[in-house]
């Protein structure tokens, strides 16, 4: 009995998932762009201040 209920309950969920997957890709791409914007905001904050000097001073000798 419990099992049958479970099946019934899960089917609308499954449809929802399918709908999400076929959602217009423009929407998904807007969402990704917003996520990337947030990441870039954080990177602007944390990136080494003097990029040129940081890159120049990073020297590693004697590796395999």
């Amino acid at each position: 009995m419990a099992e049958r209920e479970q099946v019934r309950k899960s089917s609308p969920n499954r449809e929802e998932v399918t709908e999400e997957e076929v959602a217009p890709s423009a929407e998904r791409s807007d969402q990704l762009k917003a996520e990337l914007d947030d990441i870039l905001d954080e990177i602007d904050e944390v990136l080494e201040d003097n990029a040129e000097e940081f890159v120049r001073n990073y020297v590693q000798k004697g590796g395999q």
């Binding site: 914007d37 870039l40 990177i43 940081f54 890159v55 990073y58 020297v59 590693q60 004697g62």
Partner: protein
Amino acid sequence: MPIPKVLGIETEYGIVVAGAPDANPITTSSTLINAYLSSLADRVEWDFVDESPGVDARGFALEGGSGIELDTHLVNAVLTNGARLYVDHAHPEYSSPECISPSQALLYDKAGEEVVIRAMANAKRMLPSGQEIVVYKNNSDRKGNSYGCHENYLVDREVPFQKIVGELVPFFATRQIIIGAGKVGSEFPGKASSKVAFQLSQRADFFEEEVGLETTLKRPIINTRDEPHSDGQRFRRLHVILGDANLSETSTWLKLGLTAIVLAMIEDGFLQDLKIELADPVTSLREISWDPTLAGTVLLRDGRRLRALEIQQAYLEHALDHAEHYGMGYLGNDTDGPALLREWERVLAALEHDPMTLADSLDWVAKWQVVQGYQQRHGADKQDPRLAAIDLQYHDMRPEKSLFRRLPMRRILDDADVKAAVSNPPPDTRAYFRGTCLARFPGSIAAANWDSIIFDLGTDPLRRVPMMDPLRGTEGHVGELLRRVKSAAELVEALGS
């Protein structure tokens, strides 16, 4: 049947002192490692006796060749998780313990990251104010100097080495489309960075030979170092120097897992009909790395031209077939094999369709997305040092500075498991015996290495306990004994050595 693919990763980390650019890298590496060890109760030295990095898998030994580094007297320790932490050349290096499955080896690689994070924090308290040791998990300083992230796989000694080379090289040249860590620009002599804005791999610029013994000069795609650290009659340890150091869990897991699958197929003679031989593997390795569009083709010996994706697809199809015929029990558990095949399929399909959809999965895609996004936002040109800074800082191990940690990457591991793996050894290999002896009897161990432990029991001469089989000394074999005995002397007595 393939033998169990015992495996592990050794990582040489990049190191600088912020606030002291001229600091000696060897001293700095020693300070970093001592800062970690001093936070632990006891430490045990590494024993070099059985090391032979000059022995060549093709069947000859190198006398006094370059790259032999026995007895360096540098900081060198064994950890209770079975790993080795030491100064190699001018870098801090963490070698994971021997692991039974790709996911376990991923866990212990991440535990190594946790070790260096703790080491940096400890060192910061020891250095003058304004100075800080900073460690990078990458493979190049962007000035032509490279350092390695080496993988190790247990391989059946009966498989002829030439066969391994022939069937592995096309896989190695192309696996970077999945597991490359990404690099802004190029360090290949004569190849201007303006011509290569972004490439897949950190390491591809530095390889000059198809096969060879070197690891620091004229690096080969297949390294022939024949130092099994186990019973050399039965086993070979394939020492892979080609790979990038990965931060993405998916990338590290796929690197280890797919390579182990290909090796198992070679052991079973399952790739004999693959019929893919690159005309010039070293050139192809670079061409593939320099082309993040993945559209270019490489020349085969039979005159055909294939894309790296098509070559990977051919290996995947063989792997699916092989799994159906032989199972995947050689990967140490029931779950890694099927999950790896599914992920290999997913990743190749996504790379074919739109690589950028893998920005949450693969290092090179994640880094490239940030570099491109930053470029657009700030109108930066290809030579802008801020893009190079992003490339470096992606790999910064300080949690507060790491760019990688700011990305919404898919996770495979649990943080609590990683923390536990910093102290506890994997239960399924001889690393269990090494790590547990070290945790229980640190005062009675004179030295340890991959295939033995030397006990100092006080009165007797030193006693060496050999561990020539990586699959002996597991919790199943010696767990009960190690819990029962009250001293190292009792343990050695019970082992009958």
